[in-house]
Point group: C2
Chain length 203, copies 2
Amino acid sequence: MTEARAVGTKGVPREERETQIVRAGTEEFGRNGYAGASMVEIARRVGVTKPLLYQYFGSKDGLYLACLHRAGDRLTEGVAETMAEEGEPPERMPLAVLSAIFETFDNDRYAWKLLRDPTVPSTGEIAGVAVDYRYRLDGFALVGAAQLMRSRGLDDERDIEAIAQVWTGVVDSLISWWIDQPDQDAAAMTERCSRIMRNLFGW
Amino acid sequence: MTEARAVGTKGVPREERETQIVRAGTEEFGRNGYAGASMVEIARRVGVTKPLLYQYFGSKDGLYLACLHRAGDRLTEGVAETMAEEGEPPERMPLAVLSAIFETFDNDRYAWKLLRDPTVPSTGEIAGVAVDYRYRLDGFALVGAAQLMRSRGLDDERDIEAIAQVWTGVVDSLISWWIDQPDQDAAAMTERCSRIMRNLFGW
DNA sequence: TTGAGGTAACTTACCCTAGGGTCATTTACC
DNA sequence: GGTAAATGACCCTAGGGTAAGTTACCTCAA
C-alpha cells in the first residue's frame, strides 16, 4: 500500500518537475504579474512545496527568468520566422503573425502575458531581460507597421510608432479573450480573426 | 524665518491634500498596479508621510478605491455622453470616444490604467468595484461593436465580443503610447488617430 | 493684543503579517 | 551506502497598519 508520503522523493525526475514548475509559474505570473504572484501558490499548484522551487531555480527571480526566457524565445522565434516569409501584401502580415502565435501558445496561453508584465521591478536582471524581449517584439511590430504605411505612401514616424504599439495591444487583447474561451483552439482563433479583419477593414 | 519643519501642520487643508494624494496615488497605482504600488512611495511623492494617508483614506484599499472611483466615474460618464449623441455612422463612434477620453484625461493619463489593473486581488471590495466599472465599459464597447457589425449585416455573438475586447485593448495601447509622449496634447492625439483610421481602414 | 484652549494637520516610532529565502533532515532508488 | 527528490520548520525583511505625540492656526474673552 503506497501512501502519498509527506516527505521524501516522489520519484519525479528533476527535468520533468522543472517543466511542471515553469508551466505553473507561467500561468501564475501571467495571471497575477510578477508582483502579485506567490511562490507558495505556484508550488501548491504543482503539488510540491516551496523549498523545491528554490532548490531548482534559486529565487523568485530565477523562476521568473526561466518562464520569461521560455516564453520570449518561442515567441520571438515564431514571429521572426513568419515575418521572414516574404511575398504577401503587408495587410496579410498581421493575420500570419497571429496564426503563428496562436499555434505556438495553444497550450500555454498565459506565456504572452509575461512579455508585457507591468509589475516587474524596474531594475535588476529581470527588468533587463524583459526590456530586451519587448524591444525585439516592438521591433517586429515597427517593421510591420512601417511596411504597411509605406505601401500606402505614408511614413510619419510617430504614426508608425503608435500603430506598432496598438498592434501589440491588439494581440494582447485577443489573447486575453482567448484565455477566457478554452473551447476555441488555435485554428478557430485564426479563422475568427481572419473573418473580422475581412469584414471590418476589407483586409 | 519659517524653516520647513519636520513635524506639525504645514497649513495645507485636508481637501487639497486629499486631491494631491489621489493624483499621486493614481499615477503610482497606474504605473505599478495595485500589488506593485507602495504607500510610502505615494506619500513621498506628495511630500508627506504614510500615516497621513491612513488618516485620510483608512487603508491602501481605501486610497485605491478613491482613485478608482474618480477615474471610473469620469470615464464612464464621458463615454456615456459621447455614445448618447446619435446620428453618426458607427465607424465614427470610435474616434468620438477616443477624443472624449483624451480630453478628459489629458492631465491624468494614468487614470485609465486603474480600470484595467490586473493585479487587484480577486476578492474584496476593490474587486467588486473594479469589476463593476469594467462591466460598464465593456458594455459600451459591446454596444459599439454590435452597431458596427450590424451595420454590415453581421451578428456573430462571439465576434462582437472579441471585437469589443480588442477595442478596449486599443484604447489601452493608445494611452500607453500617449503617456510616453508628454508633448502630445489631447487634440494632437485625436487628430493622429483620425488620420490613422482614415489611412488604414478608410474610416 | 494677547494669550489660553481647542482643533486640524502632520510626524516619529513602533507593531504585525505575508511572503521571499534557507537549513537540516527524511525517503526512495540504484 | 551514495545520491537525488523532497519536506517541516525556521529566519528576515518589506510593507501595510497604528498609537501617541508635536506644531500651527483659529477663536474668543479679558
